[in-house]
Point group: C2
Chain length 418, copies 2
């Protein structure tokens, strides 16, 4: 594996385009699951070093940007349809967006945008684009019969302080790449292609670790300094697919067009860092339930040791406190509920009161939000020691259709349904 950046063998479809004129071999990494054919990156990316040349195919049974290892840069945008955009307009938009995303994922210029030169020297940089449908889009496109009941509004959590202008939206677009300019450019390109049919409602920028900065690629550190994401479901888990992706109808109890899809919850969670930083390390670790340095649970072991919720200290107290974040959020505390988290940090400078406008752009994917995010968040909102240090500022729930086959587009099964 001749990449500059150490990457875990997680991705089932990450391909490395061979740099250089003669190289034609794409290298499919990891074990099966997807039956995708390797494709080499487009010649335009040939000059890019390995990080830039790495590519993730757009087409496949699931959308890209869900199971792949996190890239280092995120742009998340919600769009609202412009008045008059019905099902035909939405269909045209999803076709255009899909074609552009597929091209950019290969480092090619999107169809019809000949002025586009950004990718020339950086390649696709593992760009992924993930599309989701918010609840309001179904009525606007005359598709209410196809609206999943899982898209019902999330319950109001007692400590939420949601800004509706930065929540929700008809469409949700997650753009991730290992180069921030490639990510920005892809987001702008999609926005330009939406002109006349949809306009941005809100837009947020996030970051993760730089590839090669740390040997810990699976689990990042958040802005509180805590290792975050250890307990994520892993593709090697037997029930991974069933937790993350919607199975085929009718067994799923969901609309047929959602087969292979997922549900995304996106939340802007501001961290009260000025308060957090005043806490001792011991208080911080008891709040989370893990050691700050290496992420090991307070019940012992290393980062990847399962949390032992029953473990007691010599004095009989719980090793992982009763209100520790990892306890309250643990699948064992929530009837096995699990979601695939893929969150990014954000920092947008200072708020008017001088405190940092910084925190977590929380992203999670699950087959069913009613058994994934909702019960966990309900419990967290009640009993999580961490909730004293965070404010949920925005929230969105989106139906993420399955992936598009070559020649198809995302949302096709919905938009071409009877």
């Amino acid at each position: 594996m001749s990449t500059d950046a150490p990457r875990p063998p997680l991705s089932r479809r990450r391909l490395l385009g061979a740099a250089g004129a003669g190289g034609a071999a794409g290298l499919a990494l990891g074990a099966g699951g997807y039956a995708l054919v390797g494709q080499r990156s487009a010649p335009a990316a040939a000059a890019a070093p390995a990080l830039g040349a790495a590519s993730v195919p757009f087409h496949g049974p699931h959308q890209a940007g869900i199971v792949e290892p996190m890239q280092s840069a995120l742009h998340a945008t919600a769009f609202d349809l412009t008045p008059g955009t019905g099902r035909p307009g939405l269909t045209a938009l999803m076709k255009r967006w899909s074609a552009a995303a597929a091209a950019m994922a290969e480092g090619r210029t999107p169809p019809g945008l000949s002025d586009d030169q950004v990718a020339l020297d950086a390649g696709p940089s593992s760009l992924t684009v993930t599309f989701g449908f918010g609840a309001p889009v179904f009525a606007k496109a005359g598709l209410t019969a196809q609206q999943p009941d899982r898209l019902a509004p999330l319950p109001a959590f007692p400590e939420d302080r949601l800004d509706r202008a930065r929540s929700d939206g008809d469409l949700w677009v997650q753009v991730c790449a290992d180069d921030p300019l490639v990510a920005f450019h892809a987001m702008r390109t999609l926005q330009r292609l939406a002109a006349g049919q949809a306009a941005p409602r809100w837009q947020m920028t996030g970051f993760s670790r730089a590839p090669g900065a740390t040997a810990r690629p699976m689990t990042g550190r958040n802005l509180m300094g805590q290792i975050d994401g250890t307990n994520n479901p892993k593709p090697s888990d037997a029930d991974f697919a069933s937790r993350v992706f919607v199975p085929a109808a009718p067994a799923s109890g969901q609309p047929a067009w959602m087969a292979g899809g997922s549900y995304a919850v996106f939340r802007r969670i501001r961290m009260l860092l000025d308060t957090w930083d005043l806490q001792s390390r011991e208080v911080q670790e008891r709040t989370i339930g893990r050691r700050k340095g290496d992420g090991a649970p307070l019940s012992g072991g290393t980062e990847t040791t399962p949390v032992d919720l029953a473990k007691q200290n010599p004095d009989g107290s719980l090793a992982v406190p009763g209100d520790a974040h990892v306890r309250v959020a643990a699948p064992a505390s929530n009837q096995g509920a699990a979601m695939l988290r893929r969150g990014y940090s954000y920092h947008d400078g200072l708020r008017p009161d001088g405190s940092p406008d910084a925190g977590l752009l929380f992203v999670c994917f699950q087959a069913d939000p009613l058994t994934g995010f909702v019960p966990v968040q309900r419990k967290l909102a009640r009993g999580d020691a961490l909730s004293r240090f965070v404010v949920h500022e925005s929230s969105g729930l989106y139906a993420v259709p399955g992936g598009a086959p070559a020649g198809g587009y995302v949302g096709q099964a919905l938009l071409e349904s009877a």
Copy 2:
């Protein structure tokens, strides 16, 4: 050179800490100029891959973060002294800040902050911290006699739309690193250490290309898609040091404490991307004076070919239009004025009118702003075709003292002057 990221042989003092217990050799790159002894990175960084383990020493004749190749992440913060902080308080702060910056540059925990664990798994990631003094700090610290006349307010440029709340400031801190979390954490650490003596006035976050994304490390692309920075002075230029750094007094005509220092101009320049993106590629290229794809001047050649301002098209018109940005900004058009630019892109989401809050965090260093930035910007404000597509939203000018020797602190020569 066993780094993950391709880096130009520019830095005279970038060191690669040897990972692993036995490795003790630091590798000093590039040709002389600085007489620095290689130091290996601290053990805490030993687990970090090469990108994370790379370090830039804090101590030296000049501050770090000026001549080094740009890292991928920037946090810029201006601080105002809190009322009552005079010279003793400022001196204590600069000592604390310098000690913390020196430690973090080696991947060590800053003195007195035992709860600090962020660098443990990422190393210093080429962290640099650069401190500057704004004009108001001299009166507040009782040092008006030492205030350089070069710190007089910049002239008002006709098209400036400056927000003073996001301009100026008593102190300016530029934090750069190749890992965004390392950069954020360093910025937060310095902010914590300032508590009681200085409070943030404004804070901005920028990004550049990811190391390894492109083979073009010296010149980035900005959010307009244009290659930017080609004409920067290069350390190999005979007059590089005299353009960037203040010589010793009295020859400099500047206060003695500024020897080895520089002046930084920092401007937030918003790009009118919605308008820019509507222009044809030809218009965009004639606005800049370079080809968008490869950065070659419209007078021909490749990116690094000098711009031929006299070159004519077959029809007798100028190959590089009269109002092209590269012509108006060229040293040849400004009595040889040159500054070392080190700008970052920013994207802070949408503005209230739906347009992107995105552009360039312009940073430039020069020995004398009156012969560097000022005449160039005066000319740009009058005749630059690019000015139709940008808005200067904030501005700051800071005196950047020389570097601190080991055991010293930045600003020592000023703060301990008679």
